[in-house]
């Protein structure tokens, strides 16, 4: 049974608004709905409502909670989107950036950049130094792209699920060893950052991170969405797609490149947040079918909602402390993966 846009889109939009609202009011500092709204207005236009709003609220909302919410939305959307296109590339609904080792590859790249960023900045010229903010997402993207390519080659170009999953295990192991080595040689501050990444968290949200991940999300999402017809054809199989006039080699390169940039950016700003990319496209396919024309935007939307909801949970479960959201998504997502494996187990024997 499938839902159509008339009922699905308003439901998702309502959930998005609701989640966003809740995300602004919950946290270590309890702020009411009315105060939150006024605080945001005051933060945006300081002359407005100056007498009625506590300056502290406005600051927390504008500089902590709002960027955190927006980062959650854009990272969640990126994860949902990347999950959907990876599953298309591997022609298997079990593919997920975390499972096939792409996230680990990105994390390794990011850690590499982090540990050696001091060295990079010291040798680079002044002109290059102004681009040092791009070093982290760039290295993470390269790591993600390499891991995707490797998993795709080892996984027999989408023909073998078992090989794909084993490739994911191998890539995760190699990246994990590399990461361990980097942790061993890293200084204290780099070590803390690496540890945060591996857990996956939205606490470090800054406006620049929000801007970067949002721009990348819309650019990658837009380019991929324009190819929705070819992505659909690719689901039939590589040969079948090429018989339908799809230049499969170019399409695959495009998918790997764009999803690597998107995943690399997401990992560089929020760390390893797994299983969103696995769960979300499943839900969307159940509700709206596998047509990429709808799958891509709805996966982005649902991913955004899911991550923001998970982040709310992460903040209230052990308040006033909080759980890194990556642990929470893994706790919820891994059983779902086991359920899918159980369903597909006949294909493996």
């Amino acid at each position: 049974m499938r839902l159509h846009d008339k009922s699905l889109l308003p439901t998702l939009m309502a959930l998005l608004l609701l989640g966003s609202g809740v995300s602004l009011v919950v946290g270590a500092m309890s702020i009411g709905w009315k105060e939150a709204l006024m605080g945001l207005l005051h933060w945006q236009w300081p002359t407005l409502l100056a007498s009625e709003v506590e300056a502290q609220y406005a600051q927390v909302l504008g500089e902590v909670r709002l960027p955190r919410l927006l980062l959650g939305l854009s990272v969640g959307a990126t994860l949902g989107l990347c999950g959907a296109v990876m599953q298309g590339l591997f022609r298997n609904p079990l593919a997920d950036p975390a499972i096939i080792g792409v996230s680990s590859g990105a994390a390794f790249g990011a850690a590499l950049a982090l540990v050696f960023s001091g060295y990079f900045i010291s040798v680079a010229g002044l002109w290059l130094q102004s681009f040092s903010w791009a070093l982290l997402p760039l290295c993470a993207s390269v790591g993600a792209g390499f891991a995707t390519w490797l998993a795709y080659r080892l996984g027999n170009r989408g023909r073998s699920v078992v090989m794909m999953l084993l490739a994911g295990v191998a890539i995760t192991a190699v990246a994990g060893a590399g990461l361990g080595l980097l942790q061993y040689i890293a200084n204290d501050s780099a070590l803390r950052d690496i540890a945060m990444w591996q857990l996956g968290s939205l606490t470090g949200a800054s406006w620049s991170a929000v801007a970067l991940s949002t721009v990348v999300l819309f650019a990658a999402g837009g380019f991929l969405w324009r190819r929705h017809g070819e992505l659909n054809a690719l689901l039939l199989g590589e040969a079948e797609a090429s018989h339908l006039g799809v230049d499969t080699l170019r399409l695959k390169k495009l998918i790997i490149l764009l999803s690597a940039i998107a995943m690399g950016t997401a990992v560089s700003v929020a760390g390893l947040i797994g299983f969103v990319g696995l769960v979300v496209p499943h839900i969307v396919r159940l509700l709206r079918g596998p047509d990429h024309r709808f799958l891509l935007p709805y996966s982005a939307l649902t991913g955004a909602i899911l991550l923001v909801l998970a982040d709310i949970l992460a903040r209230i479960l052990v308040a006033p402390a909080e759980i890194p959201v990556g642990i929470l998504t893994a706790l919820l997502g891994a059983p779902f993966f086991i359920f899918l494996l159980h369903q597909q187990r006949r294909q493996f024997v």
Binding site: R91, P93, E230, N232, A239, E240, H243, G245, G289
Partner: protein
């Protein structure tokens, strides 16, 4: 000449070539059946023609020479509307419904939505799968899948003008079908061939081939053993030589069958 193969060689290893010294020419409006025992190279020939195997020699399609034709070659794109391939198995594991699978065949064209729906319906009715339009493809039986896929490739070829020449390759289109649909699909292939199309099909059943094919190419050990119409092929000596099995020809009143 729609499709021309000269000095075609396909080999994974030098010692045992899959196909050697193949020279064949196919015209439009022909239903050609490739026959042969297991390992004779009939599927290899079809897969080479569809661009999935490397080869030496020359293949000419629609007058274009394809010396090192690979499916990723850009040249393929210009053929998409006129050249369709029905795979033997479909690996689609995503829950498209029947109508959506057929609609994928119309992807190379930019038709309005209502026209797409009209054609999806027309070809699904023609292959007898209109009742499967809402059913999810991965849940269909092998034969149902094959007929839905057939509707998809027929829809793809409908993107050309009727007078344009087309090529349709069918890899064992009847292998998963029961008796009724075997005949229905081959009857349909004849109709499609009459619409300016060269249809090349790999079959296993000699009698089916003899009943429907305009021309039969009998392959054995990677070479052409016989090339002609049904009467020329239904020859117990020839069959015994190629298949290693001596059958008996029975007159069925109008046509002969090999038992």
């Amino acid at each position: 000449m729609l499709l021309q193969v000269s000095q075609l060689e396909v080999a994974f290893s030098q010692a045992a070539p899959l196909l050697s010294q193949l020279n064949l020419q196919f015209n439009r409006s022909e239903l050609v059946v490739l026959l042969g025992p297991n390992g004779s190279g009939k599927t290899s020939l079809l897969r080479t023609l569809s661009g999935e195997l490397k080869f030496s020699g020359e293949i000419k399609i629609f007058g274009h020479t394809l010396a090192h034709w690979h499916r990723n070659e850009r040249s393929r794109l210009t053929f998409a509307r006129r050249f369709a391939v029905l795979p033997q198995h479909s690996s689609l594991s995503f829950a498209f419904n029947g109508a959506e699978v057929v609609q994928l065949g119309l992807a190379p064209g930019a038709l309005p939505r209502t026209e797409q729906q009209r054609r999806v319906r027309y070809f699904m009715q023609r292959t007898g799968v209109w009742h499967l339009r809402e059913r999810l493809f991965p849940g269909l039986s092998g034969g149902e899948k094959q007929r839905v896929q057939l509707a998809r490739v027929l829809a793809q070829l409908s993107l050309t003008k009727p007078e344009e020449e087309k090529i349709l390759l069918l890899d064992e289109p009847t292998s998963a079908l029961d008796l009724k649909y075997q005949h229905q699909v081959l009857q349909l292939s004849r109709e499609v061939a009459a619409e300016n199309t060269l249809v090349v099909a790999v079959l296993h059943d000699i009698n089916l081939a003899a009943r429907y094919a305009d021309r039969i190419v009998l392959l054995g050990q990677g070479r052409v053993q016989a090339d002609g119409n049904a009467t020329q092929l239904l020859n117990t000596d020839l069959i015994a030589q190629v298949y290693g099995y001596r059958g008996q020809l029975v007159d069925m009143g109008g046509y002969k069958a090999l038992l």
